[in-house]
């Protein structure tokens, strides 16, 4: 079991999740973050921290969201670890509104 970052993160990248991760399992690229399933300890602290509800426990993923497990695992190998909060991306608030959140 792990937690995964789904599509809502793209274009927002608020990174509030990163500050509350106890084990530095988040990785970052230009548009979003990913969780390394080998490092995540399933504490769930990141779930309420995310303003756009992008983070889901693997168990709770809908059938059409299952691909995020593989995407997170692969991207975590490719991108650097992020441990401290960054400013949200330009347009994050607009995207958040668009998502209805």
């Amino acid at each position: 079991m792990t937690h995964v970052v789904t599509d809502n993160c793209r274009g927002c990248r608020y990174t509030d999740c990163v500050a509350s991760c106890p084990v530095a399992c988040f990785h970052v690229n230009e548009v979003r973050v990913y969780i390394d399933p080998a490092v995540c300890i399933d504490c769930s602290a990141c779930i309420p921290a995310c303003p756009v509800h992008a983070i889901v426990e693997e168990f709770d993923l809908a059938d059409d969201q299952q691909h995020w497990i593989r995407i997170n695992a692969e991207a975590a190998q490719r991108y650097p670890v992020i441990r401290a909060r960054l400013p949200p991306l330009d347009g994050a608030d607009a995207r958040r509104q668009q998502l209805g959140l």
Partner: protein, 471 residues
């Protein structure tokens, strides 16, 4: 005077308490880019606070966060001082005089009481004491829980309440492979509990447990979680709460509970009843607790601010063991202000304040003693980052020269205090792993401070192995 944190003028900080809040405060200081000298002061000879004494033994993955804490402790700028207690070995005044800043991260170990008749009957306990008992917390090692009773009632709607239910209902062969304390394993192996009631005042939407913990109740062999479907009917305000930011776990919790409610009762399995909208009003029994009286509650108020009020309808259950988990409280620290209502230290942005609202220069708080007993392990990391951000903004006012670690060592040596450093902890950890190996457990914890000190092979305070301390 030089601002601390600059070359040749290290910022000297004492962090009091080595649970998650303390370790993450230390980490934030180590990563600040400043010259720092951090002393992590822990009351017990062993570090990690509630990760060792709170997280349930069958949650090994969560406990593995100690790997991160160990990496923080290995930084040469940090030193661990185990078996040193604020208030016992050092006063707040002494500590404040030694360091530029003190960050209090002592947690919230006291429990809230129900305040109902019969609460002091034998068989009624704080759930936190039960947790401490099965996790080998020294203060709880001699407690006794009567598991020869058949019905246990757990009061509360958070993850601690669920942990307690799960440990009571877990197959002993599962627990045998964890680091659960031997005395608890023995008692649980003889347990006769065959019915558990989890009782809470509020509804399924307001319950504080996380879906992961709730779901686990449905995976206990031989036990069946049962919920009255009527308890899952939501009033308009609760329905509206499902999309509020503070209720992010509620929709999934509700799905899981609906799953429990829809499963037909299976008499071949022991029932674990989840009661919502029920508040305990009295406990009764001749020589020990035998029954609990509950009163039905109705929620009213605006979404996000509903409160429960009794409807007058009563329910009585047999109860041989009652464990209350209705919140933890911090305990006052000698020489520091305290907010008795919140059960926490009064603060503004992590800076301690006195009763007049004035900032106590150089004093900070993080973790449960700061914000109260809410959140999970990772919540404390964000909290500690916030507190350290406040501290770093204050550096210009913290410029009085301080003795720091050298002063602390001298003080402890003068008092012949036995101090456990991180190597001492590693010796304890290794000895615990060896003790566990025989029984196939990852560790068999020491539950006595003397045994921990013995395993750590501590002589006297470092730099003080002189005749004066030869006792």
């Amino acid at each position: 005077m030089a601002i601390p944190g600059t070359e040749g003028h290290p910022l000297r900080v004492a962090v009091v308490g080595s649970g998650p809040g303390g370790f993450y405060a230390a980490e934030a200081l180590l990563e600040s880019g400043l010259q720092v000298e951090i002393d992590l002061i822990e009351r017990l000879p062993v570090p990690f606070g509630l990760v060792r004494f709170g997280v349930a033994p069958d949650h090994a993955k969560l406990k593995s966060v100690t790997t991160v804490f160990t990496q923080i402790a290995e930084d040469p700028r940090l030193r661990f001082f185990g078996n040193v207690e604020l208030g016992r070995d050092l006063s707040a005044e002494q500590l404040g005089a030694l360091y530029h800043a003190v960050i209090v991260a002592t947690g919230a170990a006291g429990d809230r009481q129900l305040g109902i008749a019969g609460e002091h009957l034998a068989g009624v306990h704080a759930a936190g004491d039960f947790v401490g008992w099965y996790n080998g917390r020294p203060e709880c090692a001699d407690l006794e829980f009567d598991l020869q009773q058949e019905v246990a009632v757990v009061i509360g709607q958070g993850n601690v309440a669920i942990d307690v239910c799960r440990i009571l209902a877990s197959p002993v062969d599962v627990l045998r492979r964890t680091d659960i304390a031997a005395h608890a394993l023995d008692a649980l192996a003889q347990s006769r509990i065959r019915e558990i009631h989890l009782v809470g005042r509020r509804g399924p939407v307001q319950a504080k447990f996380t879906p992961k913990e709730l779901r686990e109740l449905g995976t206990l062999p031989g036990w069946q979680p049962r919920v009255d479907p009527a308890a899952l009917a939501l009033n308009d305000a609760s329905q509206a709460e499902l999309v509020l930011p503070g209720f992010v776990h509620a929709p999934r919790n509700l799905d899981i509970l609906r799953g429990f409610a829809q499963t037909p009762a299976d008499d071949g399995r022991r029932p674990l009843h989840l009661h919502f909208h029920c508040a305990p009003v009295a406990l009764s029994g001749a020589t020990r607790v035998e029954r609990i009286e509950l009163e039905a509650q109705a929620l009213s108020g605006e979404p996000g601010a509903q409160s429960a009020a009794p409807t007058g309808e009563r329910l009585s259950l047999p109860a041989g063991l009652v464990l209350r988990s209705v919140g933890y409280r911090g305990t006052p620290l000698p020489g520091l202000p305290f907010d008795r209502v919140r059960g926490a230290l009064p603060h503004r942005d992590g800076r301690l304040i006195d009763t007049g609202g004035e900032v106590l220069r150089g004093w900070y708080a993080t973790g449960w003693i700061k914000r109260g007993p809410t959140g999970v392990i990772g919540t404390n990391r964000a909290d500690s980052v916030d507190t350290v951000t406040s501290l770093l903004a204050d550096l210009a006012q913290l410029d009085t020269p301080k003795a720091g670690r050298a002063g602390l060592l001298a003080q402890l040596a003068a008092d012949c205090r036995k101090v456990v450093d991180f190597d001492g902890w590693r010796a304890i950890e290794q000895a615990e792993a060896e003790r566990g190996r025989a029984g196939g457990k990852p560790a068999e914890k020491f539950v006595r401070v003397e045994d921990m000190l013995h395993a750590a092979a501590v002589a006297e305070a470092p730099q003080s192995r002189e005749r004066a301390c030869a006792r």
